[in-house]
Structures are given as structure tokens and as C-alpha cells.
């Protein structure tokens, strides 16, 4: 698939206003040639799922720095499933302790990018996921 056709939603769930990382990822992915939509801050899981379906995205990238990831990330994955949109791949980033990553993955979050992640690592993940899906 061409990069331009790949649509990605970057979303800030929860109440924290720290969107430096989310905006960086959104802008950097756009510069890499993807179509990127950024929701802005303070979105509920319901808002995010609605936007993901409406915008017909293949990926949802969640960002959260307040520590509410164990509650809110799984909720997004679960709601997508309920809406029959579980083919949308969910990944996340932010201040997330390594201990929490196995739990989040078990809840349907495909990948977690901790602080220090580079944009190339995110791009590799997206490309690999697309390639795996094509097989």
C-alpha cells in the first residue's frame, strides 16, 4: 500500500494536556508521507473510536502521560471491537512503565512506544504491520 493511502489517527485520551509527543508523532508521520489526523486533547475512548471509524483509519496511536493508560487504552481497543472495527490497529505511547506493557498488549494494544522512541521505530512498526496484514 502506498503511504499516502495509509490513514492514522493520533489521539490524546484522558485529561492530560501534554501533547508535545502526540503532535510530534503526528507531524513526523505526516512528513513521512502518511495521512494523519490529530484529535486534540481530552478525548474520551468513545470520541476516539468514533473518529477512527469516521475517518476510516488503519491505525490509532494513543498518547497518555497521566498514568491512566491501563484503564483508557484497553477501553479503546474494546470499543473498536464492539463496533466491529477490530481491524484498526491500536498502538500507544507516553509515560508508561515497562511493567504495564504485557498487560496492555494482552488487551489488544499492538505496540507501546516508551519515552525515547524515534519516529523511524514507529514507521517500522507501521510498515511491518501492513506487510503482515497483506500476507
Amino acid at each position: 500500500m502506498e503511504k499516502g493511502k495509509v490513514r492514522i489517527l493520533i489521539a490524546k485520551v484522558g485529561l492530560d494536556g501534554h501533547d508535545r509527543g502526540a503532535k510530534y508523532i503526528a507531524q513526523a508521520l505526516r512528513d513521512k508521507g502518511y495521512e494523519v489526523i490529530y484529535t486534540g486533547i481530552r478525548q474520551t475512548p468513545e470520541d476516539v473510536v468514533k473518529a477512527a471509524i469516521q475517518e476510516d483509519v488503519q491505525f490509532v496511536g494513543l498518547s497518555l502521560l497521566s498514568g491512566a493508560h491501563n484503564q483508557l487504552f484497553p477501553k479503546v481497543a474494546q470499543l473498536l471491537k464492539e463496533k466491529g472495527a477490530e481491524d484498526i490497529v491500536v498502538f500507544g505511547g507516553g509515560v508508561i512503565p515497562a511493567d504495564d506493557i504485557p498487560f496492555l498488549k494482552s488487551q489488544g494494544i499492538k505496540e507501546i512506544f516508551p519515552p525515547g522512541t524515534t519516529i523511524d521505530e514507529v514507521v517500522d512498526f507501521i510498515e511491518k504491520t501492513l506487510k503482515d496484514a497483506a500476507h
Binding site: R20, A26, R42, I119
Partner: protein, 555 residues
Amino acid sequence: MGEKTIKDAKERWENSTLKNFVAKAPERQKEFATVSQNPVSTLYTPLNFEEKDYLKKLGFPGEYPFTRGIYPNMYRGRLWTMRQYAGFGTAEQSNQRFKYLLDQGQTGLSVAFDLPTQVGYDSDHPLAEGEVGKVGVAIDSLADMEILFEGIPLDKVSTSMTINAPAAILLSMYIAVAEKQGVPRSELRGTIQNDILKEYIARGTYIFPPKPSMRLVVDTLSFCAREMPKWNPISISGYHIREAGADAVQEVAFTLADAIEYCKAAQQAGMDIDQFAPQLSFFFAAHNDLFEEVAKFRAARRLWAKIMKEKFQAQDPRSMMLRFHTQTGGSTLTAQQLDNNVVRVAIQALAAVLGGTQSLHTNSRDEALGLPTEKSVQIALRTQQIIAYESGVTNTVDPLGGSYYLEHLTDQIEKRAQEYLERIESMGSMVEAIELGYIQREIQASAYKYQKSIESGERIIVGLNRFKTEEESPQEILKVDPRLRELQIKRIQEVKQKRDNEKVNVILKKIEDVAPTGENLVPYFIEAVKTYATLGEITGALRKVFGEYQQQVIF
């Protein structure tokens, strides 16, 4: 040597000694610059700072333009206030952490509130899911605030509260708790952040649109000017602007632009500049570029003094003094090789002290991963104590003053910040510049450039993109019990059962009635919190009248 001037001598040195040396051993980079893109030369000399400029640019500490410090003898008299930002979980847990910090020699409290509290939702609000007690303590009503300060004499400590949109309501709760302790509000010392403009551009915990928000700020300025002379009713914050990605110049410029806006609003409400300006306080970040950071604090002081004197015609010297709190830069910490963060924090804290801060929070080594453990907080506090008692930098005022390099950078930052202020003024006002998205775009452009420079390897971050090691993830991370929300919800229910609900309804209705008028709302908030009306109920009444701010998504 035969040269008549330093200029001649320097030219000769450049063309012979330096040139020959560099020809044999090339420099590491073609060009050098500070982290905020201030170009840096090989050498600074008296050509960059001449003695004839001394009185105009530097003067003497405790006097206009306050470049060297706001007090005549600075830390020879009193050290800065060591104030660690803390709070998590329930009021009981935070109360314990406060007592621990006071036992460890901390000299002031700094309260972190959870996000639902910061945006005016009670813990039982649907949007509070997952957030209760996470980044700070959950405060739903006066009942929580009473527990938070239980056993802490409010006439003895100064308390800083990081609260913005509902700042006036939390201040009202603090006043009510103090009254119960028998401490009159006029004796209370502390700060509410109450800086709503930076919430729109950097931090995100706004509730209402700018206009009614500015009115709430002015209400607190006016209330405190009248009734709380020892209180700082606002802490105009560059910290979050910097953390959102701004550089040092933008940090100074946008913070002072916000401050100018508050002054204009207070004047429009009929206040005299010298009536409230002495109570304004500021809050900056300290990052890694040591000299640039020291220069930043000095430039901010000088520029603010000039603005107050020339633009606002302040007469009282206290109106011209930029008093500030500093926090080391959270965004500079790495999740890799955590111990390296202790060193970063030490450099940053040193910059704050060399820059003449009035109070300081030092970050803990593990904050890129979550809330700090007690042990990490102790190292952070000890870092301040080592600077205070062992380094010797506290023995004289502005010890780096007169460094040719530092003075050059101070001039540069002041000049570039001044240019920003002129650009903002040409847009009408800071509120307009924010509404146009100009400020947000400027910050984002800097953030993007900075991150790119790390990813390209052009900027080295030790342990992150160079000198990497394989490491195990740290074992000890402080976690907040997710069941805490249920506890808070139970407490809200108990409070609502015990209180006189009739009285609550009457005062909430009264707030709705007063909100559209110009009358000061603070006395009504005090009355409301005393009935145990919840924070969510009080902001709810205001939301009905003021509406909510809708973010413009800029990226």
C-alpha cells in the same frame, strides 16, 4: 605586542594563534550554538561587555533593573525555598508525603492536584475514569482539603498550589481550612498558579473561554490585594511553555506577554498597577544549557523591570521585581539510564541558583517513568541542599555576573524576547496571538526541530542516542491504586449526605446569578466551599454561565 586596543589584539590572536591552531586540529563542529539557537563564538572578551554599560545594564542587586538579583545580598541572607512538588492518591497519602518532606528539611509545600480536580470535575464524573489520584491528589470538597493539611500548621508553612482554571475555588478551600486552624487569611503565605493563558498554549487544563477566565484571574488579584497581602495570587508560568517545546527565548517572551496581558486586564478592571504588581510571581524551567539558562533568568528580570517601569509606569520598586520559582526540566529527563538524570538535575538546579531563583523544585531521577519514589525525591532534595551548603555559590550575589559570555547571552535573550513581544503587540494582544494560533505554532516548530535534531544524532543525549547500554527496567516505580476512585466516590457520597443540601443549593444559585455581573466571585466561593459544595458543583454552576473552551487543534 604593540596593539593599542583589545579589538586589535583580538584580531591578531584570531588571525594567528587561533587560526594556526585550528588549522592543525579542526574544531568538533563548524558552528556552535546554544540549545535555543543563540550562536556561540570561540571567545568572549571585554568587547562583548564594556564597563561603561555596567550601571545601565546591571546596576546593583535589589535595585532597578534587578539584573543581578531582586535582593541586595541574595542567598547570604536567606536561601531559596526548597519546594518539592508532591501529591498523589488520596488526601491522606499526600498528607503523609508532605509531612515526610517537611521532616527531611523541605521549607515549603507544593501541592500537585489530579487532573479531574484541575479541570473542575469531581471524582465521580465519567471523564475522571482512570485519572483519580494519578498525577496529584484528588480534591472533591473541603472534606478532602481538611485531611490534606491535617496536622500542618498553615501559619508556619508556605504552600504553593498548582491549580489554574479553578484556582479561586481551591484558594477558598485553603482559606476555610486555615480558619478552622485559627489562622486568619491575612497571615497565609503561598501561591496559586492561576495562570490560565499558558493553559491554552501549553498545559491544557483550561475550563472556560479566555474572557471569563481572565475575569476569574482578576477577581483573585483584586481579592488578594485587599485581603491576603502575603499571598501570591498568580504564578505566571514559562515552565509549561518550555516543556511544551519552546526554547529559552520563547519561554521568556511568551511568559512576559502573558504577564502583560494580566496587568492590562487588572488595570481595565480599575486596579492601580502598584496595587497588585508586587504580588505577581513567576515560574520558569531550568534546562541543561547552563550559561544560557542563567542568562535567561537575568534577561527576564531586566526585561520585566523595564516593562513595568516604562510601559506600565509602575512607581513601587516591588512592582518591578521579577520573583520566580524554578523547576528543573522534566522533558530533559531520559527513561534510559535513570541515574544520569541526577546529574542533569544538578546542573539545572545550579543554573536556577546562579540565576537567582526564589524557590526551587528539583525533579527526581525516575520521573520519565512515573511518579517518583520516596528515595528518588530524597536525592532530588539533597541535590538542592548540596548546592546550598557545599558548593559555595551562595556566598556572593550573582557570581557569574561579569562573565563576558554570560553578559553577551543575557543581552541576546533580552533582545530576541523583546522582538517577540513587539510582534505579539502588533497582533493586538497575547489573547489574540493565542487565538490566531501563532504562539502554539511557534512552540511547536521549536519542539519539532529539537526532536529532529535528537533523532538525526546532531544533538547528543547521553544514554539515549549515544553511549547506550543494555539495562533492565527499574523495579521500584510508585503506582497509584486504581481502586482509589471508588474510595473518593464513597467520600463524596458521605459528604453529600452529611451537609445541609438546602444551603448548598442556595449558594450555587447565587454563584450563577453573580457570575454574569462584574462582582468579585471569590467571597461567594468561600461561602460555597464552607457548605461542602463540591468542586464539580461549583465549576458546574460557572460552566452554565461561562460555557467551555473549545480547543483549536493546531499541528
